[in-house]
């Protein structure tokens, strides 16, 4: 069993409180993780300015090179982890064993992280719209057309309260080190692996140790990170997002309610988009805010739902190391059963039908095993947008196919992180462009799970960390 300390500005700290991370299928104890109490975090944050100061001593271009080196190390190297070392294969095995995500999906997430790290210069150029990054470090400069400009960091460090069940979120914070802002992690209890591995990769690549802290812990630790950091990201459910919605210090990421909208001009050819729709729901086991939870069209909805059910109803749990495994396990006892019960309750509403009620193997949606549970893909047809289930998201491949006239569609879809609007109808496309409740807009046949890493996600991280302000200089 690996003994993993907290990291206080790069210095290991072994706590008297330790949490055991266990294999969800076998119960094997994989790691013992030191838990940080809130007071430690609050005290350490008094020294947060040192993290940024250490990073500002290194030019942004150098930091980008270090990040690129870190990408390679993250993918291939044996890196220190607590009192042991961990190679990439073990990383995948451990991450899968504690999060329930199949190993091939963990590898895909690794690849996604590497992709972003490796192209950090392009990502930052895109997010800053070509700003000379040294201006961020220096605080002021002259842009190409001769206009003075100034950016002020709003925080010395970015706090991150990370989830346990979704290793796909890490790409969001990866640009932060080259922006010369430190990182303060509160990892999810079941997923300490990525923050520790990435941190060690950064260290080995030359990033100063004092730029990063990792504080595993309970809810108190998360609250302390949010309270003590001037800027933080938190990942959670809708109540978490609602709680922090008005807090300018916190960017809350929760359910995406991502959707595909089929315009009247294409819906008669819906079969053409069936693969796209299935992929949007099924990839990464539906365990992502970018996974599609709603398909909206004015007609053929029952046929679409039937076809999707035919494609997905037979998907069943497989061993996590099976490359064909499409479903992630629910490792928290009772969680899958509770979700399935909520769906059953929602299915009693008028105009709602479970198109996956009968599966080819005769099995049920809920698969209960000795140490974990699974939920099999579920496709629901809604004859109108009225039922609650028409706009619901769950952490497994679940989708509602909703019948709604095109002229009402944008008005009824509600908050939508990814909106893939498949239509050539210019009025619909223009309305979608103006719809402020759609965050990332895809016009055309783009799966919701296909991200362009050169685009901002739920707000631009540059705008969150830096403020563009007025600046003038004159002779004394």
């Amino acid at each position: 069993m690996i003994n993993i300390p907290a990291l206080r500005w790069g210095k290991p700290y072994e706590s008297l409180d330790k949490d055991e991370v266990v294999h969800f299928e076998t119960g094997e104890k994989l790691a013992q993780v030191s838990q940080a109490n809130a007071g430690i975090i609050q005290r350490d944050m008094r020294k947060a300015s040192r993290a940024r100061a250490a990073l500002r001593e290194i030019p942004a271009g150098e930091l980008i090179k270090m990040v690129r080196t870190a990408a390679e190390l993250y993918m291939t190297a044996d890196l220190p982890l607590g009192d042991g070392t961990q190679g990439p294969d073990d990383f995948v095995r451990y991450q899968s064993a504690t999060t329930g995500l199949p190993e091939h999906m963990c590898r895909a997430n690794m690849e996604k992280n590497r992709f972003v790290l490796d192209r950090m210069d392009q990502v930052l150029e895109s997010l800053t719209r070509g700003l000379d990054l040294d201006i961020l470090g220096r605080g002021h400069g002259i842009e190409e057309r001769g206009v003075p400009l100034s950016f002020q960091a709003q925080a010395d460090v970015l706090g991150l309260v990370l989830p346990s069940n979704s290793p796909g979120v890490h790409t969001l914070w990866m640009p932060v080190i080259p922006l010369q802002v430190g990182l303060v992690f509160k990892p999810g209890p079941q997923e300490p692996w990525t923050p520790y591995r990435m941190t060690e990769a950064f260290y080995q690549a030359g990033v100063p140790r004092e730029a990063i802290s990792i504080y595993p812990g309970g809810p108190d630790a998360g609250a302390a990170v949010l309270g003590a950091c001037e800027r933080s990201l938190i990942f959670g459910g809708k109540p978490t997002v609602d709680q922090y919605r008005a807090d300018p210090k916190v960017q809350a990421h929760g359910p995406g309610f991502s959707k595909i909208l089929l315009g009247d001009d294409v819906v008669d050819n819906w079969e053409k988009y069936l693969d796209l729709m299935v992929d949007s729901v099924l990839v990464n086991s539906g365990r992502s805010c970018i996974s599609c939870s709603g398909i909206w069209a004015s007609r053929h909805t029952r046929e679409i739902a039937t076809a999707m059910a035919e494609r997905m109803a037979g998907v069943a749990p497989k061993p996590t190391n099976d490359p064909e495994s499409a479903l992630a396990a629910f490792t928290v006892p009772g969680a899958a059963k509770a979700i399935s019960g909520m769906i059953d309750q929602q299915l009693t509403a008028s105009g709602v039908e479970d198109m996956t009620a009968v599966r080819p193997d005769g099995g049920d949606r809920l698969v209960e095993m000795e140490r974990c549970d699974y939920l099999r893909p579920t496709v629901v047809h809604c004859s109108s947008p009225e039922p609650e289930i028409a706009n619901t998201e769950y952490m497994f491949p679940f989708v509602s196919v909703v019948e709604c006239s095109q002229d009402q569609m944008l008005g009824r879809i509600g908050e939508t992180l990814i909106g893939s609007v498949i239509s050539g109808d210019e009025s619909l496309r223009a309305a979608a462009l103006n719809a402020t409740h759609i965050d990332r807009l895809n016009l055309g046949a783009v799966p919701t799970i296909q991200l362009n890493w050169l685009q901002p996600h739920e707000g631009n991280i540059i705008d969150f960390l830096y403020r563009n302000r007025a600046y003038q200089e004159a002779d004394l």
Binding site: S15, L16, Q35, I40, Q42, G227, Q243
Partner: protein
């Protein structure tokens, strides 16, 4: 006398105390109206059939719901009907608070606890700061009494924990922070006001905030003259103690306590770095008894070192509470020289309730 002899002697003393207290509360002349009424529904006579501590298992578990609502006088023993009565409350953020009556128990309990405090760290005659909840709470009066008992004058602050819980439930984080600052500002003013405060009570969260606030002002608790702190609550863990000792207190002596409105204060064995800051509490027997029991069979204590739910029995002439199952769990600990009866370590919220319990709000 060997430790085994002392354990046996204490057990005999406890049994005798049980007989005295049960007879007092169930005697029609002196007894408590609630228990006299309760006895009429029992299939045994407490005055003749309860002769040992173990016999108390014949009572059903005490339900704290019985303490909600009035009339409060049903808890006043007839023998004390003419005495001045205090009422202390616990809970009450939503719904009716639980209330218990008191006459002198809080004074007696805290005078007993006072005997456990080292005089060089809590100097006799020195003034105290009570940095904890105010309002209808036992703690505020009890700490003030203990300070007076030791010859000092106690400074207090205003702190309404029910409002703090409301703020947390509403997610009004900004207001929560502002209220915390309001509380700490009061404490800083007192500490810097020339009142020669050398000792204090503080909850772990407030102690952290106070130290941070003083540091922001370029000073510290030690520089303000504080020598000793007593604190309490399930947040008072070994790790927190280590953190406070190593990083906050600059050598100030701190001792943990465990208690609530229904009991006196359980004192701790000396807490040392050598024992990884392990905290073991011992109840003030025979006035109160802590047992660690099987959650599914509360009449059965677990083995030494094993985990169980904390069960509290209060045995004073003012209050009889047989077998109240606390919302905490911990490990059963062996008796030792200073306390020749069972102790409890690792106290934390009972796992079954942990998700729904709000701890350490102040």
């Amino acid at each position: 006398m060997t430790i085994d002899d002392r354990i046996a002697a204490e057990k005999a003393k406890l049994d005798e105390h049980v007989r005295e207290i049960v007879r007092w509360h169930f005697d029609p002349e002196t007894g408590t109206p609630f228990w006299l009424d309760f006895a009429s529904k029992l299939d045994f006579d407490p005055r003749t059939d309860i002769n040992t501590f173990d016999d108390l298992n014949r009572f059903p578990s005490f339900q704290d719901e019985w303490l909600r609502g009035g009339p409060v006088r049903r808890w006043v023993p007839k023998a004390f009907a003419d005495k001045p009565i205090y009422v202390f409350e616990t809970g009450g953020t939503t719904g009716l608070p639980k209330s218990r009556i008191a006459i002198d128990d809080f004074r007696t309990d805290y005078e007993m606890f006072s005997e456990t405090l080292p005089d060089d760290k809590f100097p006799l005659g020195s003034n105290w700061l009570m940095l904890g909840p105010s309002g209808p709470r036992r703690l505020r009066l009890a700490v003030e009494h203990m300070c007076q008992h030791r010859g000092g004058i106690c400074f207090c602050i205003d702190l309404d924990p029910r409002w703090v819980i409301q703020l947390m439930k509403k997610g009004w984080n900004e207001h929560l922070e502002a209220y915390k600052k309001h509380v700490i500002d009061q404490a800083v003013k007192i500490l810097k006001g020339g009142h020669e405060i050398k000792a204090m009570f503080a909850t772990p969260k407030l102690l952290e905030s106070l130290c941070e606030a003083l540091e922001d002002q370029g000073t510290s608790l030690a520089e303000c003259g504080v020598l000793g702190i007593f604190s309490g609550g399930t947040e008072f863990t070994p790790q927190w103690t280590r953190f406070a000792t190593e990083e906050l207190l600059e050598g100030i002596y701190m001792t943990p306590t465990y208690g609530n409105t229904l009991m006196g204060l359980a004192a701790s064995r000396p807490v040392t770095a050598e024992e990884d800051y392990k905290i073991t509490y011992y109840a003030p027997q025979p006035r109160a008894v802590l047992q660690i029991v099987d959650p599914d069979e509360p009449s059965q204590v677990v083995g030494y070192g094993e985990t169980g739910r904390v069960k509290l029995t209060t045995l004073t002439k003012e209050l009889f509470v047989p077998g109240f199952l606390e919302r905490d769990e911990g490990e059963r600990e062996e008796p030792y020289e200073a306390y020749p009866w069972d102790g409890v370590s690792g106290v934390r919220p009972f796992q079954k309730f942990a998700d729904s319990t709000t701890v350490g709000v102040y």
